[in-house]
Symmetry: C3
Subunit: 307 residues, 3 copies
C-alpha cells in the first residue's frame, strides 16, 4: 500500500504518529471504504486482546475486519492471561498471540502497555486504549468525522467541552487539530476540569489560537464543531458546584437554537444527559454518524497495516 | 424473498406477529435448509447482544448465521455497555450496533426491551428472550418440530406440562397452536403453576378446546405431543407438595408405556429430572431433535430478514 | 484422509491413543501446514466449549480452524450451561452442541469429562484439558517441536524439569517418549515433586532408561532437550526449601553456558521466573517456537478429524 510506504506505518500506538499527509491518505481510503464489503483481508486474522471491557471499541474493530473479508479471534477477558496464569508478562503474552494472529488490537488498563507490546511484537499492534494514555483510533475517527461532515478542517472554530483535564478524547483531539491551518479552539469546562497547562503549552508552541470558557453560550454562536464529553460528578467536592457546571455546558434545544445552521455536534459516546435526547433528531447531531465512521476508519487502518 | 413480502417481516419481536401463512413459508424454508451449508448471507454480519447469558440460544443463532456463509460478532456480557458505561440507554447502544452489524440478536432481562430496540433500529432486531416477555424463536422451533415430526399440526392433541403459569415457552406454544384447526390442548400442572386465566381466555376467544389436569396419566393415552417443562421448587411453599406434584408429571419409562406409539415427547431444554434419562433412547423422545431444529429454523428466519 | 483411516481417529481424548505411525503422519502434515492458509475446512464449524478459562489454548485452536477456512463459535464461560441452567448434565449439553458444530473442543475442570462427552457425541470431541487428567494436544505439540527442532526423537537425552508429580505436561511427555527408540530421560525435580512411581513403572515396563536428579547442573552437559516447567510454592511446607529447590532447577545464562550448542530449551508456558528473560534471545530458547507450533499441530489434527 502506498500509505504504508508513505508513512512506514507498522503499529498504531499514538495519534501523534500521524502527520497531515498520512491522515489525508487514511481519510481518503476510509471514505472510499464506507459502506463497502470486500475481500482484501481474506484469510487474515485479527486478535482482539482486551484486558478491560470495551464492547463498543471491540465490536467496531471486529466489524471492520469482517467487512474486509478477514477473520477475528479474541477475548473479552484477557486478564486471565496474566492473573489466572500467575504472573506471565505482557511481553510473553504478545509473543504468543503473534503466532495466532496477523494483527493484535490491544486494550489495556495501564498507560504504555501498547508501546510495550509493540516492542516485542512480530505483527502490528493497534492501541485500542491504554488506560489514561491514548486511544488513537478514537481520535482519528473524530477528525475523520469533522472532515466528512464539513468538507475541511482548516480554518474551523472547534469548541471542545466537558472534562478537558482527564478526558482522553478531548485532549487528543486538541493535539491533532494542530496539524491543520487556522484552526481556533474554544475550551469550555468547569474550572476543576479545564484543559491542563500541558495542552495549552502544546498549542502555544504550534501557534494555535485558543481561549478558555466556563459557559457554552459564550462561544456557541460561531462554532463549526461542538465536541461534547462527559464530566464526572466525582471530580467535584460539592454537588451544587457540579450541578451548576453541568448545566453551563449541557446541550439541549436552547443550545441548538444558538448553534449555526451548518455546525455539528459530536460526542465520543456513551452519552448520558450531557446532550439531551431531543437533540438526536436535529440533523446537526453528528454523534451517531461519528460512531458509525469508526468502522470505515478502522477498515482503512487495518488495510494499511495488513494489505 | 417472497416471505418478507408476504409478511413484511422486518423485526422478530413476538411470536404473535406470525400468521399461519408466514409460518407455512418459514417452516418450508427451514425444512429445505436443514443440514445444508450455503453462502446466501456471505458478507453479512450478525451481532449477538446478550445482556444475560444464554449460551444455548446464542450458539444456535451463531451456527445458523455461519451455515449461511455470514459472519458473527457479539458479546456474552452486553451489560457492560449500560452499567460499566454508566447509564447509556438501550436505544443509544442499539443505534451504535446498527452501524456494526446487519442484524442484531438481542437477549435482555427486561420485558419490552426488544420492542424498544426495534423502535430505533435501522437493521432487523431478533428478540432472543426479553425477561418474562417472549422468546419467539423458541416458540417457532417448537411448532416447527411438531410439524416435522408428525407431518401436521391441525387436529392434534397436545399435552402441555409443567410450569404453565410462569413458563414462557409453554404459554407461547399454547397461543401459537390457536392458528391451527381442531387442536385440543391438555394443560397438566400442579395448581400453583396451572395455566393462567389470560391464556384460558385467549383460547376460549378463539374457540380452542382445552382441559386442565394435575396428573399426566389422565391424558397421556391419547396424546400426540407431550410438551414437558420444568417446575421450580421455589414455586411451592411446602417441599412435600412439590415432591407430589413433580412425580405426577414426571416422564419415565412407565409414562412412555402409556404414550401412543406415534406420539412425541418435547422439552425446551435444559432438562433436569422431569424426563428420566432412560427415555432418551426411545424414538419418541424428540427433544434433542427439537433443539437441533433450532438451527434450521433460525437459518430460515435470518434469510427472510436479510436475503 | 489416510491418517484417519490409518488411525481410525474419531476423538482426541488421550495422548496414549497415538502410536508412532499416527504421530509420524500427524507431524508430517503439521509441518506441511505451518504458515499456510487454506480452505480445506471451508464451511465447517468448530465449537470451543470452555468450562474454565484457557485463552491461550482456545485462541490457538481458533487460529488453526480459521487458517483452514473454517468458522468458530464458542464460549469462554461454558459453566453457565450447567450451573446457571440448573443441573443440566454434560451429556445433554454435548448432545445439543453437536447440533451446532462439526467438532467440539472441550476444556473442563473434571478428569474424565472429555471421555464422557465423547460417549454421547455425534461429532469429534477434542480434549483441551480435563482438570488433572490430560491435555493431549499440548503433549503432541511438545513432541512435534522436538522433532522439528532436532530432526529426530530417537536416541535423544531429554531432561524434564520442575513439577513432575502434578505437572500434566511433563508426565505426558515422558509417556509419549516411550514410543521412540533409545531415548534417555533425566527427571530433575525437588523431592516433593519428583516424578511418581506410576511414571517410573511405565518407563521400566517399556525398557526406557531414566535417572532422577535434584539439580539441573548434574545432567545439563549432555542434554539434547531441557523441558522446563513451573514448580508451585504451595507444594512446599517451608519457604526456604522452595527457594533452594527453585534455584537448583532455574535456567539462566549460567545454565545456558553449560548446555550443548545444539540443544534446545522448552517450556509449555506461561513462564514466570523459572527461565530467566535473558535466555529468550538465545537461539536454543525454543519455547516461543514451541507455542507457535501449536497452531500447525492443531491444524493437522482438525484436518484429520474433519476433512
Amino acid at each position: 500500500m502506498v500509505a504504508v510506504r508513505l508513512g512506514g506505518l507498522d503499529h498504531v500506538i499514538s495519534a501523534s504518529r500521524f502527520d497531515r499527509s498520512l491522515l489525508t491518505t487514511l481519510f481518503a481510503r476510509a471514505g472510499a471504504l464506507e459502506g463497502t464489503r470486500g475481500q482484501s483481508l481474506h484469510g487474515r486474522i485479527m486478535a482482539t486482546l482486551f484486558y478491560e471491557p470495551s464492547t463498543r471499541t471491540r465490536l467496531s474493530f471486529e466489524s471492520a475486519m469482517l467487512r474486509l473479508g478477514g477473520c477475528v479471534l479474541g477475548t473479552e477477558a484477557a486478564h486471565v492471561f496474566s492473573s489466572a496464569m500467575k504472573g506471565e508478562t505482557l511481553e510473553d503474552t504478545i509473543r504468543m498471540v503473534c503466532a495466532y494472529a496477523d494483527v493484535i488490537v490491544l486494550r489495556h488498563d495501564r498507560e504504555g502497555a501498547a508501546a510495550q507490546a509493540a516492542s516485542v511484537a512480530t505483527v502490528p499492534i493497534v492501541n485500542a486504549g491504554d488506560g489514561p494514555g491514548e486511544h488513537p483510533t478514537q481520535s482519528l475517527l473524530d477528525l475523520f468525522t469533522i472532515e466528512r461532515e464539513l468538507g475541511r478542517i482548516d480554518g474551523l472554530h472547534v469548541v471542545i467541552c466537558g472534562d478537558l483535564r482527564f478526558g482522553r478524547t478531548a485532549r487528543s483531539l486538541a493535539r491533532l487539530l494542530c496539524l491543520y491551518e487556522g484552526v481556533r479552539i474554544s475550551f469550555v469546562a468547569p474550572d476543576v476540569v479545564q484543559v491542563g497547562e500541558d495542552i495549552r503549552a502544546f498549542l502555544r508552541d504550534r501557534g494555535v489560537s485558543f481561549t478558555l470558557h466556563s459557559r457554552l453560550e459564550e462561544v456557541i454562536g460561531t462554532a463549526d464543531v461542538v465536541y461534547q464529553t462527559r464530566v464526572q460528578k466525582e471530580r467535584f467536592t460539592k454537588l451544587a458546584e457540579f450541578e451548576v457546571a453541568r448545566s453551563a455546558i449541557r446541550i439541549d434545544s436552547a443550545t441548538m437554537a444558538r448553534l449555526p445552521a451548518r455546525a455539528i455536534v459530536m460526542h465520543p459516546l456513551p452519552r448520558v444527559d450531557e446532550i439531551d435526547a431531543v437533540v438526536d433528531d436535529d440533523p446537526r447531531a453528528a454523534y451517531f454518524r461519528q460512531a458509525a465512521n469508526g468502522v470505515a476508519l478502522r477498515m482503512a487502518l487495518l488495510e494499511m497495516l495488513l494489505a
